[in-house]
């Protein structure tokens, strides 16, 4: 299904994400700046070595929630375009988990909108991360 809003590009994918794709999507002659956040898999968490990681998603709802965040960010910060891509499946250290790309006329809203999107995504989008660490296997954030 094509995205109903031509300024929003949402992707939840088991394949590697492309920063270049996101950049091309948000670029526009009316924009003076693009801000990108690229989240990658760290080799350490809570002092433990991470060997790899798995993302599981409730896909249809995750895509809906990702789109809601993009719509809210465009409205709140006056962004031109938003691309929000998230991986699922098995990821290795250094792999890209998420890309947030935004464009706007001026740079301040680009920074603020980009930070807002990744903050919201971590709060509301039904995606779960299982870390395989030296001390075992953990669903992140699940237990106190």
């Amino acid at each position: 299904m094509a995205d109903p809003d031509p300024h929003i590009d949402i992707l939840l994918s088991g394949e590697p994400l492309s920063l270049d794709h996101c950049r091309q999507f948000v670029s526009d002659p009316s924009c003076g700046g693009c801000c990108f956040f690229v989240g990658t898999i760290r080799d350490l968490n809570l002092g433990q070595t991470v060997t790899h990681l798995e993302f599981e998603a409730y896909a249809p709802m995750a895509v809906r929630e990702m789109r809601k965040i993009a719509v809210a960010a465009r409205a709140q910060f006056g962004l031109h375009a938003v691309a929000l891509h998230h991986r699922t499946g098995d990821l290795a250290i250094g792999d890209t988990a998420v890309i947030v790309a935004v464009s706007s006329k001026h740079r301040q809203p680009a920074f603020e909108g980009c930070a807002f999107i990744i903050d919201e995504l971590k709060q509301t989008v039904p995606i779960w991360k299982r870390e395989f660490r030296g001390d075992g296997t953990h669903w992140l954030n699940a237990r106190p």
Binding site: F55, A57, R64, K122, A142
Partner: protein, 87 residues
């Protein structure tokens, strides 16, 4: 499963740690339809006390976060949403 059970039970989808607790990608609860989300939470904790060990969990109804006062209808897609961890 007899005809009465089919009418009163509901399949609840489970992801992440919820799937681990349920031991499958779904669990079955009785008398969910017609009740509130709060009642579903209570039934769930009774049947699967391990959900009480989580930081929290939300309930989604038809791909939207549900409030505790929402009424679950028969035919709704109901999902346990343990603490999310995207990004």
């Amino acid at each position: 499963m007899d005809k009465l059970a089919l009418l009163t039970t509901m399949k609840i989808l489970c992801f992440g740690v919820a799937r681990e607790i349920a031991g499958a990608n779904h669990l079955i609860l009785d008398h969910v339809a017609g009740g509130t989300v709060a009642e579903l939470r209570a039934s769930l904790l009774l049947a699967y006390p391990a959900f009480g060990d989580l930081v929290s969990f939300a309930v989604a109804r038809n791909e939207e976060y549900a409030r505790d006062t929402d009424i679950i209808q028969s035919g709704d897609e109901v999902v346990i949403i343990p603490p999310v961890a995207g990004g």
